[in-house]
């Protein structure tokens, strides 16, 4: 059988942002896992995608041109792939938001999903990617209505996407 052309993970903006701030917001174990994950990316051991929204959110970090250039160079790696938002992703993001909105209205059994969150989820699903890596909900105050790490498969009642924190192959992760 030919090698699978599916990406292995889709990353959320907070994963790359945590990396560029040095993982100072993570526990020692999570920092090691984050480092291991990006080392795997550089070694091309893992195929990673992210929607172009990540770039927009990264720009909000007020990075210098040089710092942004360093990120741009990373996207030259064949296995680190920025994806434009197309109509398939937008339509699925709408479907996902609609699913949780309906459930929320019916019996409050599910919380709402933010637009950007739904775009990351939809990108992973459309590209047939098994994992979405995020820190969202890892160490946050409970004010936010929906944390990505609190979402479990099947997403929107039917998609088998696993949402978890980043890990490295060397450390026996991802989780």
């Amino acid at each position: 059988m030919a090698e699978s052309r599916r990406p292995e993970a889709c990353i959320d903006s907070c994963v790359i942002i945590s990396y560029i701030i040095g993982g100072s917001d993570r526990t020692t174990d999570d920092r090691a896992a984050l480092n291991g994950f990006f080392n795997d990316v550089y070694a091309q051991n893992v195929s990673v995608i992210f929607p172009t929204i990540l770039r927009a959110e990264l720009l909000q970090c007020n990075l210098t041109a040089e710092q942004m250039g360093a990120f741009d160079l990373m996207t030259h790696l064949p296995n680190f792939d920025e994806l434009p938002i197309n109509s398939s992703i937008s339509a699925l993001a709408a479907e996902i938001r609609s699913h949780y909105m309906t459930r929320n209205r019916l019996d409050r059994s599910e919380s709402l999903i933010a637009l950007s969150d739904s775009m990351f989820i939809a990108t992973a699903i459309v590209e047939d990617c098994p994992k979405l890596l995020t820190h969202d909900g890892d160490r946050m105050p409970p004010a936010k209505p929906r944390k990505l790490l609190g979402l479990h498969a099947p997403i929107a009642g039917k998609y088998p996407l696993h949402i978890c924190k980043p890990g490295s192959l060397q450390l026996g992760l991802p989780q």
């Binding site: 599916r6 907070c14 945590s18 560029i20 701030i21 970090c61 360093a70 030259h76 064949p78």
Partner: protein, 269 residues
């Protein structure tokens, strides 16, 4: 019938004694094999199936009956024929009866099925496919139903994709190259204007990012053709700085917030 067998029965128009036109037989056989390969590809997550079909038996008497035996290519991992033959049967039955086409019915599958039923109503009266213990009748009604499914291409503007340029045709007024991405579609045909000809020639054999308007088959996730607006040259991997150079590159980027708090602020205000 064993899991790896597929039987195609073709009944010529003109009564029991009528013989099948040779060209139609080969056309329908070819279309069936292509349709099978398309379903195998879909069930394998987009990878090209390393499967071929041999003729196990052939009968030219009307109806013409061909039995094909699926086998895995040499040195390739064994394929679960039962699984993908069942998927094929499910797909063709959905085309025949479903009120709304399910997601696993692709534009390419419809294209091959249309080819398969093209002679029906003319030189061919009916055809039957037996696969995975099930039979599907392909008749004029099936052909009309296929024709009624609106499966149009769509175009998305301002897209981009990375890959290696490995084929090119710049003969005469033709300006096209073939991009081979590392993931997603196996290849994408890229059509460019003559203004980009020199850049395209320079891109041959290189890893690039192609920008432009993407053309997708009905329901397809990945494009099959790009109208190129630009070709961006990417650094060879050996020239990309080690990724650890990004680690801690901007320690104050979030103003002291954790990454998730920072992103939370962007997304929820």
């Amino acid at each position: 019938m064993p899991d790896n067998l597929v039987k195609l029965t073709i009944e010529a128009s003109g009564g029991q004694s009528a013989k099948v036109v040779a060209r139609d037989f080969f056309r329908q056989s070819d279309a069936l094999i292509n349709a099978l390969a398309e379903v195998a590809k879909t069930t394998q997550g987009g990878a090209t199936p390393e499967v071929r079909y041999r003729i196990a038996s052939l009968s030219a008497n009307s109806p013409a009956v061909a039995t094909y035996e699926a086998e895995t290519l040499d040195f390739a991992p064994t394929v679960n024929f039962d699984r993908f033959h069942k998927a094929f049967d499910k797909s063709i039955k959905a085309v025949a009866t479903a009120a709304e086409m399910p997601g696993y019915v692709t534009a390419s599958l419809l294209k091959y099925l249309k080819e398969l039923v093209a002679p029906i109503g003319a030189t061919v009266h009916t055809a039957r496919i037996e696969i995975a213990g099930s039979e599907t009748l392909l008749d004029l009604k099936f052909r009309q139903r296929l024709a009624s499914i609106a499966a149009k291409d769509r175009i998305e503007r301002g897209m981009f994709i990375k890959g290696t340029v490995e084929a090119m045709n710049i003969h005469g007024e033709t300006h096209r190259l073939t991009l081979y991405p590392h993931r997603g579609p196996e290849k994408v045909v890229c059509i460019f204007e003559k203004e980009l000809k020199l850049k395209a020639i320079e891109s041959f054999g290189k890893f690039v990012r192609v920008h432009g308007d993407f053309k997708y088959e009905w329901r397809a996730v990945h494009p099959y053709e790009i109208k190129v607006s630009d070709i961006e040259f990417l650094k060879p991997v050996a020239e990309i700085p080690k990724i650890t150079s990004l680690m801690g590159i901007a320690p104050n980027a979030t103003g002291g917030l954790s990454a998730e708090e920072f992103v939370e602020g962007l997304r929820h205000g």
